[in-house]
Symmetry: C2
Subunit: 485 residues, 2 copies
């Protein structure tokens, strides 16, 4: 999977602009771009960021090979000196990012690129593509796992994913956000995550009858024997046949460690309750009752409310496509340009009629503020690199738009942690990506830093993202300057 050259995975305009910078400007001018998003998908109270490992691979491998150069020549708008320049193109800048699995909020830079403008411009599209996709699926998955309240959630969606990568990297993101396994074998191989699965209706149909199909399956896979019971008639055929097979296993002395049924159609609340009664009556009260069939967080929540006795969930289409909001609106905006004479960054701002859409200028970082006692997040503070904070002093937080909304944190009651960490410095990768299952464990800790009120599915409590006084002041000065023009 990693052998592909994704250097041309970019919008043409990145290349036309690059040639423009090359021809008409100082191509080595250093700039800062921030990748951030404006709204949490699915009405969630936060997002779970993901995709950094693939961004790192992409950046590391950036190079135009001869076939790329030949192709670009054929497009007819690029000149030879620019094509020559591309031949030796490598990424030589700095990248800071928030580690994967972190809980993040709108307007925070998830990735910050500090690099010569040519390089910073080229990487925009692929960086957005990768982070947008995986953060979307991680966020959707977190909602589904949250609704399952501790039951295992399996990722099943490969066949409905938007292409091979969407299936495989989507499953990776799903694992980060708490799935216990994926059906996608390639994802299992690439990222060393648990793969799971049983059988399809076609297994049952390829045997003369359901009982034979079940018996054969149980003989082959006695230690993970989940039988699909809805091929012919769930209550009159599927469950009785499954119970029959469990009895035969028990009588044969085969330990029933992980066994049970899967419901894939019909009224899951009703069928699961009936199934539970039938399994209990036969002495199989520890059997797994798993369910699938177009599930999402709302259906799982509703089934739980109805007293469904399902304790394992297979989720496909709605998870792997993030169906009710299939895009994560991450953007990549110019934040500063380095002044060659002074070496300092000149902040840049993108205006908009809509206050929420005005960008935050300058070379920024994020301080996350935790309540010392509970460990929960109080707020995030976007600030300028170089600003120092002392948690033994009080700290005044204020809403950057409705500035009369203020909170004073008392000395010693809070802790701070910087979210952006260095990933590339001068083109060298200085970050080691944790394994996916370690990111999952980290993500679980991250989720513990949120109150339940911020995790609920509908109308969650909003966590404040404030600007430091220094950044707020810089932004307002810039706005004043523009408005005076």
């Amino acid at each position: 999977m990693d052998q592909r050259n994704l250097t041309l995975l970019t919008d043409l305009y990145e290349l036309t602009m690059m040639q423009g910078y090359f021809k008409e400007k100082d191509a080595n001018e250093t700039v800062i771009f921030d990748m951030f998003y404006r709204n949490n998908p699915h009405g969630n109270g936060f997002a779970v960021c993901a995709g950094l490992e693939q961004v790192i691979e992409y950046i590391r491998d950036l190079h135009f090979d001869e076939s790329d150069i030949d192709y670009l020549r054929g497009v007819g708008i690029f000149e030879e000196d620019f094509l020559d320049y591309l031949r030796d193109f490598r990424f030589s800048g700095d990248i800071y990012a928030i580690p994967e699995g972190t809980v993040v909020f709108p307007r925070e830079p998830l990735v910050k690129v500090i690099a010569p403008i040519m390089q910073a411009q080229l990487v925009e599209t692929a960086l957005l593509n990768i982070i947008n996709h995986q953060s979307l699926i991680a966020t959707k998955t977190e909602r589904i796992v949250y609704a399952a309240k501790g039951d295992g959630v399996m990722e099943f969606g490969l066949r409905r994913a938007q292409g091979p990568d969407a299936g495989t990297y989507g499953a990776r993101a799903a694992m980060i956000a708490g799935c216990i396994g994926t059906s996608n074998v390639l994802c299992g191989k690439m990222f060393d995550v648990p793969v799971k699965g049983t059988h399809a209706h076609s297994w049952i149909m390829s045997f003369p009858d359901e009982l034979t199909a079940f018996r054969t399956y149980a003989k082959l896979y006695p230690s993970a024997c989940i039988l699909l019971v809805d091929t012919y008639d769930t209550l009159n055929s599927g469950i009785p046949n499954a119970i029959q097979v469990f009895k035969e296993m028990k009588n044969a002395g085969i330990p029933l460690t992980f066994y049970g049924i899967r419901l894939d159609s019909g009224d899951l609340a009703y069928l699961s309750k009936k199934a539970k009664k039938m399994l209990d009556a036969a002495g199989f009260s520890d059997a797994v009752i798993s369910a699938s069939n177009d599930l999402d967080e709302y259906l799982i929540d509703s089934l739980k409310m109805q007293g469904a006795t399902i304790n394992s969930w297979g989720v496909g289409t709605n998870l792997i496509t993030a169906k009710d909001c299939p895009s994560f609106g991450g953007v990549y905006k110019l934040a500063a340009v380095k002044d060659k004479s002074t070496g300092s960054f000149i902040p840049k701002i993108k205006l908009s009629e809509n206050a929420e859409k005005i960008t935050n200028p300058g070379n920024k970082t994020i301080q996350r503020i935790y309540d010392k006692e509970t460990g929960k997040i109080i707020a995030d503070l976007i600030c300028l690199v170089g600003e120092t904070f002392d948690t033994s002093h009080s700290l005044l937080l204020f809403d950057p738009i409705e500035t009369w909304k203020k909170t004073m944190l008392a000395p010693g009651t809070y802790t701070m942690r910087e979210l952006l960490v260095p990933i590339f410095l001068k083109g060298e990768c200085v970050y080691e990506t944790p394994k996916v299952m370690d990111i999952q464990a980290y993500c679980r800790q991250e989720l513990d830093t949120l109150w339940d009120e911020s995790k609920r599915l509908v109308n969650p409590h909003k966590v404040h993202v404030d600007l430091s006084h220094e950044l707020w002041h810089m932004k307002n000065q810039l706005l004043d300057t523009y408005h005076r023009k």
Copy 2:
């Protein structure tokens, strides 16, 4: 891109079932699986099928390499004899499919796999993944192109696509369904389709002022000079500056062949009309007015109704994610099993409470029936392989569920065409995939075989998909047999 080994791009259960067939059955038993879908996405009247080229590449390249075998061994449920068998695994069966770019309808087999059960089972997941994705995006794109009523539509969505493949193969599907170009350079390279694009807000912001940014762009790209006018103030700065640059080009004797403006925010109806007036007044009435900003078929339709003067459309997120319905519900169902003694296929059926969900059994093909005079589609007829039809005789069509709904076609008034063509025979590919731009031309012809009533965006007229009398009879006999049990 094609160097990846996608053999493990499958659900684990395909492999657990394969081992089951290997251990417990005749692994060479030949079966037929049909890939079909049940509902047109987006409430459309049809779908545009796509993705076959990638399925062909996937099937051709199917093989388990040593690292795959090692990985599967580590999963802990596969035995050595089965792993040995996988080492020499190749696809040796037949595949029939409907060519890409064809207009298709629910319940028609888009792909038919006739192969030993082990092989037919393995390919399910990847085949569905690929065809589902590309058919989804092709169908969504057709709607957008239809709404644009002859204006050019550009695909712009890479940054919001669900991963690299979704961007690249999604753009491929968009080209099949009628986009005039894509911003995705990798797609352009891989599939020899036009790539297009101009500049971003960051281009404008990286210059001291907008006019300088425009001038520089015009100097570099005079023959495709579309200027983004909304960075600061569309009407008071962007358009006047663009007109200034067009005047300078004209005065300098630079031919204005393809030039104009792009609107990316604000009220596109109002701004485009204002822009048109300003451009006309300055003598630039042939300037392109292009628009982007979260467009879809409904917005384009509405803007046209409002008299917007936009004549070029850039569509991103909504197209590349098929946002309002981001999955194509293609399924893959067992249709028949070969009887070793007789060599004939025993039809198989999957039951359901819902008549629409009962599968069509047997070895089938599809005859498309056209009106001889208009060339428009009258209906599709799913029938059994080997059935013959004579268009010089009358033909009785009837609805397969509401059987009293009948139509009699008079002799000589209709023509027929078989939709499924051979792709693989005995494991050998016998089909040459056309180039994407040729598929686009074919797709345009295909769309001409539909009445406008079937193409409208909301409540389109439904094209009938009927069963031949022979197939209908076989299906009902099978249903009777099951119900008697």
